[in-house]
């Protein structure tokens, strides 16, 4: 399962990860090698097998629900305390749309 360079770049784009030329090259090799290991799953007959998304289901605890009661949350000050860039009560980001 060899990945070509475009596929690796496509994944990086989807994942919003910038890569250097060198990283692109080494990831191409490494990810291809890892995907090769996954081919072993092709030999498993999974027809009619339902997927397990979560281990909690197996121990009886998937999706514990509670009543939707309003509670105090963190303060603006707390929520923004780690923000790299902020203004007033807002996170600031680079312009998304052109002016």
């Amino acid at each position: 399962m060899a990945l070509d360079r475009q596929e690796v770049q496509h994944m990086a784009t989807l994942a919003r990860i910038g890569l250097t030329e060198q990283e692109l090259e080494s990831f191409q090799d490494q990810l291809s090698h890892i995907l090769e290991q996954f081919q072993i799953l092709a030999e498993v007959d999974t027809s009619g097998v339902s997927p397990t998304g979560h281990a909690a289901g197996a121990s009886g605890g998937a999706g514990v629900m509670r009543d939707d009661i309003p509670q105090d949350s963190s303060s603006f000050e707390d929520v923004l305390s780690n923000a790299p860039w902020q203004e007033g009560e807002f996170f600031r980001v680079k312009a998304v749309l052109e002016e």
Partner: protein, 496 residues
């Protein structure tokens, strides 16, 4: 410096409650020990000396008031993936180098409510992705038994810290073996509880369907004490099991035949299965010998040992390395340089800012897994990878369920290898992944398991893993404790 840093939790508690020592003395002794060995071991990312001494003073007051619990006044190191209010929680990543949580993880609140003393935050592979702690963005941790070797990972800081006696115990997190495997490589006890038994609230997410917090301790009694403190239903975690609290300490009992699991069996004897698939090719002979000797000791204690088969074991590695990176790629999308963490600002373009933030903020292994997960979840590949892995996950669960009709617990090596030299496996991701081959099936199925020291291979500690059905922690602790009582391995300490 006295020898207080060598005490177990239960020994320290006895002496604290009797007024023979104070928590300030115990804490100071651990801090001195840290100063003495930390430049060689490097198990910490942050040392919280001032806060620890303040907590120790409060603990002493509480003890004087007759309010001491088993963990009151006892020093702990907490893995740096577990949120601590007001104290850096970096996840071993440049991305969160300056991140300071505004709330505590539920487990931290639970420990503080008990009067715990936190001496610092433990080193780890970045975002808990790795098996040697070499993926920490800040520095490697060294195995106290041989400083040229790795402590295992990803909770390598916690395991090395407990082995080096820098704190009495540690909290780690285990997504595919990250508590048990370093515990094994450092000669200490490590437990991954049943998925959902310990709240994940405040545990920075890696793979949410697999992550579970667990104790790293010097012996099994300590493990039961910590489990008592950190388990319990948490309304802030929707996967937290609605369980009534149990007393895990009461479960410790020397007789294997009185295991609650054994009741109703024809002979009333504990049956332990040995899955042949876990004794893999490439397993070190010294590890095999130590584990086989450990299994013999369990038999001498009255358990019946029978070979069993878990044929889906060979698919677990591929299954895990599709599911965990898929969940990781979703969970780590939150690191965009907007809300917290490292942020690349030197551009006017938002997309470029995000790409550069993630390029410079994440290390290579994290990037590899995000890319892998993105691939497995992308259109055209979802069915072949992610869906297929989830179906195989069902088969792996069913395999365990079938075997637990036949036996009460399983015994296996924790890791096929003892501690390896620093740098030996960093060049090949697949070689690193293979180290978790005996531990990750347990996370896939959400089962509890414990690693206990069972000997040495060429001077390096070896761990034996016990695995049980869902919520069988009491039986596992009982078996592990009986084994520990019959052996001396847990008493061995490295010379530093």
């Amino acid at each position: 410096m006295s020898d207080l840093h060598r005490l177990t939790i239960h020994e320290a508690h006895r002496r604290l409650a009797a007024g023979e020592i104070s928590s300030v003395e115990l804490t100071q002794d651990c801090l001195e020990r840290i100063h003495q060995v930390e430049d060689r071991v490097q198990s910490f990312l942050t040392i919280t000396e001032e806060q620890a001494l303040e907590q120790a003073r409060q603990a002493d007051q509480r003890i004087a008031d007759g309010q001491a619990g088993p963990l009151t006044g006892v020093p702990v190191q907490i893995k740096d993936v577990i949120s601590t209010r007001g104290i850096n929680t970096t996840c071993g990543s440049r991305m969160l180098q300056d991140y300071v949580p505004v709330y505590n993880a539920t487990v931290v609140d639970n420990l503080y409510r008990q009067g715990a003393v936190m001496v610092g935050k433990g080193n780890m592979d970045e975002f808990a992705m790795g098996s040697s702690t070499e993926n920490s963005a800040f520095h490697a941790t060294h195995n106290p038994w041989d400083l040229q070797r790795v402590p295992g990972g990803s909770s390598g800081g916690g395991a090395a810290c407990v082995a080096a006696q820098e704190a009495t115990y540690a909290l780690g997190s285990d997504t595919g073996g990250s508590v048990r495997q370093p515990a094994s490589l450092c000669g200490v006890v490590g437990m991954k509880p049943t998925y959902g038994l310990v709240s994940r609230y405040g545990l920075v997410a890696f793979a949410s369907s697999l992550d579970q917090i667990g104790p790293i301790t010097r012996d099994v009694t300590d493990c039961a004490h910590v489990l008592n403190a950190i388990t319990g239903h948490d309304p802030k975690d929707s996967t937290s099991l609605p369980q009534a609290p149990k007393d895990y300490l009461a479960a410790l009992n020397d007789s294997l035949s009185s295991s609650p699991l054994a009741k109703g069996r024809s002979k009333g004897v504990l049956r332990i299965g040995v899955p042949e698939e876990y004794f893999v090719d490439g397993m070190e002979p010294g590890v095999r010998d130590a584990v086989e000797t450990g299994i013999k000791a369990l038999e001498d204690l009255g358990a019946t040992i029978e070979p069993v088969s878990l044929p889906t074991t060979k698919y677990a590695l591929a299954c895990y390395y599709i599911i965990a990176p898929s969940e990781c790629s979703a969970n780590l999308s939150r690191y965009d340089g907007v809300k917290y963490g490292y942020s690349f600002q030197d551009t006017s373009d938002m997309v470029e800012a995000m790409e550069k933030t993630r390029q410079f903020g994440f290390g290579p292994e994290v990037k590899r897994r995000i890319m892998l997960g993105t691939y497995a979840l992308s259109s055209g590949y979802y069915d072949a990878y992610y869906l297929k892995a989830q179906q195989v996950r069902t088969l792996i669960r069913q395999d365990f369920a079938r075997v637990f009709q036949q036996v009460d617990a399983l015994v296996t090596p924790t890791s096929p290898v003892a501690a390896f030299p620093l740098g030996a496996k960093t060049g090949d991701p697949v070689q690193m992944y293979l180290i978790d081959v005996c531990t990750l099936p347990v996370n896939i199925a959400g089962l509890p398991s414990i690693s206990v020291p069972c000997g040495f291979a060429q001077g390096l500690p070896v761990g034996m893993q016990l695995i049980g059905p869902h919520l069988s922690e009491e039986s596992l602790l009982r078996v592990a404790h009986a084994y520990e009582q019959a052996t001396e391995w847990h008493k061995a300490v490295p010379v530093l």
